[in-house]
Amino acid sequence: MSVLLQQLANGVVQGALIALIALGYTMVYGIIQLINFAHGEVFMVASYGGLATFTLLPEDLQKSPAVALPLMFVGGIVVAVVVAVIMERFAYRPLRNAPRLAPLITALGVSVFLQEAVRVFYPNAKSNLPYPKVFPEGNLTLGPVNVSWTGVLLVGLSIGLAVILQTYINKSRMGRAMRATAQDPDTAKLMGVNPNRVIVLTFVFGAVLAGVAGIMYGGYLNNINIDMGFQTGIFAFTAAVLGGVGSIRGAVIGAFIIGLIKTVAGQYMPGGTQYDYVWIFVVLILVLVFRPQGLFGEPERVRA
């Protein structure tokens, strides 16, 4: 029983990480119907951006977590946003009116490009790199369950940012413009909404969340590698599809479900954590067969 509770707690933390990334997939899809397969790589470069920021700090600041950690967040998020904006401008925007397969293949290309760029240009990126010890230490203990304070921080950031995002999209003027563009891009233009501005902003929001996830990943798991974007990206993509791609709430709930399946299956199913991807793809296939619009998505409609 205590093992199960512990795995459920681990699942919530993993779900929180996956949610931060899944939101980027679901928002971009909601606006331009593109599965941005390079989004996992945005998360990865953010993690390296945070690490690089730490490395560049003077030694006395490196020893002060209260300064170093916020600066790492800033560095990681800036790198993520710059990469996402360039990617949108030069890889996806020219293909805006191309058949849907073209930007999808481009996204795969961008993904490989970013991974290889980090592998080639980041010092020692061929092996796992240890992440700086600037995160909260110790554990939160609730009965039989232990969660590191870094994990608690991750869950808090994930839920907090998701609520802020949802509120912004529902209440603000720009949020209304985003929803209008998602529902009917031509009519949104007739209202005076500049589609490029909405699309760039969507990529920026996704990148900020992926940036936070990239830093917290390093803090929670203690080291990073260039495959992390692809690996975690698959979970996040599946979470977005499970929740109903395009839906903010769906992405978050889908992410927690995926996190829980991952940890519980890793504990109890034969083969342990080596079979993570098997169970996740089983979920993905079942969703696509029985409820392709996901838990909270709208059934696909053909636009007039």
């Binding site: 209304r176 529902q183 009917d184 209202m191």
Partner: protein, 238 residues
């Protein structure tokens, strides 16, 4: 003094298919002008080109004397042209209020709230149900909201595409009364209609469009009396 809107020898193509071949017309400030013609004549394409959603293959569109046919759609609204598209195209999963707020998206002044109230005064059913999703309303109510939304940008020129489509005769009459009222409040209106009788009765000037060309024009009442118009569009036979 140049006219408010001038369309000169416009042609528009979807790939190889030419939907508009040679359309010319003029809208003077303060007028109601209607474009009538059968289904597929190119009326909707013309409006979509004026509002910047489509690019002309040839010809010119001048608004207050300045060419606008190379401007993107989202800046054309800011110049003072508002377009209520065919089929109403509300944002169905947003509330009445949110739809109206989007109509006022480019406005920075603080009169938006008062103008929203004016729409509610004009169409009380919208005010009573302002927090309901637009997709839940009847066709006539949706048309009211579409017109109200198009008014929210305070346009100099309001373009309405088939505002009577799918409506009962009573509701059609209300919509046309509203259009007349908007004119009296100083809005210039370009109307596209299949209901030629009602549109021409209301219009200062009308243009008949056939197979992508302007074929006939004149004051609304004289077109109504023209035997060719009556034969072709008013469903009369000898």
């Amino acid at each position: 003094m140049s006219p408010l809107l001038e369309v000169r020898n416009l042609s528009v193509a979807y790939g190889a298919i030419e939907a508009v071949r040679d359309i010319s017309f003029t809208v003077e400030a303060g007028q109601i002008v209607s474009l009538i013609g059968s289904n597929g004549a190119g009326k909707t394409t013309t409006l979509r080109t004026i509002s910047g959603l489509l690019r002309p293959a040839a010809g010119e569109i001048l608004f207050q004397g300045k060419p606008i046919h190379n401007q993107p759609a989202h800046t054309i609204l800011g110049m003072g042209i508002s377009h209520s598209p065919e089929g109403r195209r509300l944002f169905p999963r947003m509330t009445v209020e949110e739809n109206l707020q989007l109509g006022a998206y480019v406005r920075k002044d603080d009169g938006v709230q008062a103008d929203m109230q004016r729409v509610y005064d004009l169409f009380p059913v919208l005010g009573e149900r302002r927090h309901n999703k637009a997709g839940l309303f009847s066709g006539g109510e949706q048309q009211m909201l579409a017109i109200g939304r198009a008014m929210m940008s305070k346009p100099r020129l309001l373009m309405l595409d088939e505002p009577s489509m799918g409506l009962s005769p009573i509701m059609t009459q209300r919509i046309f009364d509203t259009i007349k009222e908007l004119q009296s409040l100083g809005t210039t209106i370009l109307l596209v209609e299949q209901n030629a009788l009602a549109a021409l009765a209301l219009s200062d000037h009308g243009y008949v469009i056939d197979l992508g060309k302007t074929t006939l024009d004149g004051p609304g009442h004289s077109l109504l009396a023209d035997q060719r118009v009556r034969d072709a569009y008013l469903g009369e036979s000898h």
